[in-house]
Symmetry: C2
């Protein structure tokens, strides 16, 4: 395996009823800003649990963080942070809310002129407000990593810093029972693709990382559809397994010491930016096609994926790879997400625009070896039609 | 799965040449005590690398920490800590050295009368010197957990505190190339049994934890024998996979949210205490017998273990369980460790003594449900003859 350094200090509190731990996790003398999204936490009981836990704290609210959080919305939080001397952020929501809190936290302590430089000029984050997270939607792993994606003028740009990694995260699977099928399916697919992107590269003989990734993929394949099926969708154990898988999928562990290929995410971002496709659905459209186009480069790992994740042992190499891709597509269909561009109304006429956007965003050397050129991205998009 | 909280902030630096990172990890103004064992680090180049990395630091040495570190040895370190105002410990060695450093760190800051109370009265550790670790023998996971076992008058007693968890750990697989076959085999078997003890209980449907445990077991089964075979024993990838497996085996992750059964360790400790059996070898003797005696209580997990780890799919339940236990024993034999008491010269005449020791040490309610009585431990020991 490759040399690596790995550290993940986020304190995980997992299980039903754990929201109450924020009473002790956040210092009593902190001035807390609770940040959240569209208000679903006010109807599903989560906001009440947070309020109860913060009964003795001084705290304020900032709501309205949208899916794919925008710079403009996030910057509005700076007013209340200054006015109320906020020194602790509590993100209550899914990946978008946690991502948004990270930018708010870094912007609040940014010493340069324009906090947008953190993202567009990748200026280092030297200081940030401390963040805690109460996760309501298992998907992005943002609750225990230092990554964030912010959107401005339709462009999604990531930034990363260990200083914005949440100090603690509450993962209560029971709060996910009120999610819509679409939110659940998006979350499972997003986590699934995160794992694939740290796994489906060339082999460096990282046996622990491979086995862990395969175990997470198998768990999502087993449990994901159950979270949509009427008979099992309220099963708390199903929700718990999905929630823990999604966190483990992107907390740095399975990616430590192995190559990574984030091309599916980068190409998918353009589907979201240009056509408003849900993030996870952009991934389920791009991934099967990327697997086909990169089948030679990823041959060894695709065969391992076929054997260990899908238990495919029959046929020659190409047959086994085809079968593994087919089963991946079937899993996505089971999860009720689109698997090709036509499913979301994107046609061959749109490919030029998508490739132009990739070029504009500097995405001309993607993949684990940086050899996915714009031409290859075009091929991936074309095959995804 | 069960509710849990999990945090592991140890910063892992993994790979060849990583010892040099201690220059930056340890504050330059620290007064460092480098603690180590019998001096093998002086012949294999590790001590030199540590010296080079600490060239600008103020540091001192304390050596002689034995396998199964003793209270008497560890307390001798307090003199130099006081005389030189030591405020940072760097443990360079295997699990015994790291365990020993943990007790030294806690004893140095203990405010009660007798540091032994930390262990024998399980007094809480409120303060401890910071610890860094350079691991030379993959086995115990001590480099990234808060656990320690200290021996006094032939009795091994554990203590635990997050305050003695190393702040960082350097895992350079190339330093393990100078280990003896016996050290390697002991390390692999110790790690294997750590995993089993967090896995082979009753099922709580912790799918991620199960898959991770199975992946680690499979990795050790594949890589362990290679580290002993002449053609592959110097393969750095083999060493890397073993090293990372051993750390992951006991850093808290696979045990979070699932029941645990440490009976094999507790019974094994008496073999070490009474007869000087190597720690890992006490485990390889006890585990197969414990699997036999507890086959009804562990039936579901034993069948899962048979299928997923050993790929046994033929025969009825009892046949599959027998086969899994048989393959476990064969793996231990491949790893060149004893698998029954007669292999180390212990006979039926010694069982009374071992049970009496368990009773003296309060080990009368072992196992994941606390239902392994002294009688059942006797049965396990008898079947291990």
């Amino acid at each position: 395996m490759l040399n690596f350094n790995f550290q993940n200090p986020t304190h995980i509190h997992f299980g039903e009823g754990q929201i109450s731990v924020i009473t002790k996790e956040i210092p009593l003398n902190a001035r807390v800003l609770v940040v959240y999204g569209g208000g679903s936490i006010k109807t599903n009981g989560v906001f009440q649990q947070v309020s109860d836990a913060l009964a003795k704290h001084t705290w304020f609210e900032f709501s309205g963080i949208e899916p794919n959080p925008t710079y403009n919305t996030l910057m509005k939080a700076q007013d209340i942070i200054k006015a109320e001397n906020i020194d602790y952020l509590l993100a209550v929501g899914g990946g978008s809310v946690v991502d948004g809190a990270k930018f708010i936290a870094a912007a609040a302590e940014y010493e340069g002129e324009d906090p947008w430089d953190i993202i567009v000029k990748q200026q280092p984050v030297n200081k940030a407000l401390p963040i805690g997270a109460v996760l309501t939607l298992p998907a992005t792993g943002s609750e225990s990593n230092g990554n964030s994606v912010v959107t401005r003028d339709g462009t999604k740009i990531p930034f990363s810093s260990p200083l914005v990694r949440p100090l603690f995260a509450v993962l209560d699977p029971s709060v996910t029972l009120s999610l819509s099928d679409r939110q659940i399916s998006n979350g499972v697919v997003d986590a699934f693709v995160h794992i694939i992107e740290q796994y489906l590269t060339y082999s460096v003989n990282g046996k622990v990382q491979d086995r862990f990734s395969e175990g997470l993929l198998q768990t999502l394949i087993e449990e994901g559809p159950k979270a949509l099926a009427p008979a099992t969708k309220d099963d708390l154990e199903v929700r718990a397994n999905i929630m823990w898988s999604a966190t483990m999928a992107l907390n740095g562990l399975i990616g430590a010491g192995v190559p990574q290929d984030w091309a599916t995410h980068m190409i998918g971002h353009e589907l979201t930016g240009a056509f408003g496709v849900d993030h996870a659905r952009s991934l389920s459209i791009v991934l099967p096609s990327l697997m086909q186009v990169r089948r030679e480069q990823k041959r060894e790992k695709l065969l391992q994926y076929a054997e260990r994740v899908w238990h495919i042992n029959e046929g020659d190499d190409n047959v086994r790879i085809d079968q593994a891709i087919k089963l991946t597509v079937e899993f996505f269909k089971q999860m009720q997400v689109p698997t090709c561009l036509s499913d979301v109304g994107i046609t061959d006429k749109d490919i030029d625009l998508l490739v132009a956007r990739l070029e504009k965003h500097g995405m001309n050397a993607l993949g684990e070896k940086g050899d996915i050129t714009l031409d290859i991205s075009r091929e991936i998009l074309t095959k995804a039609l």
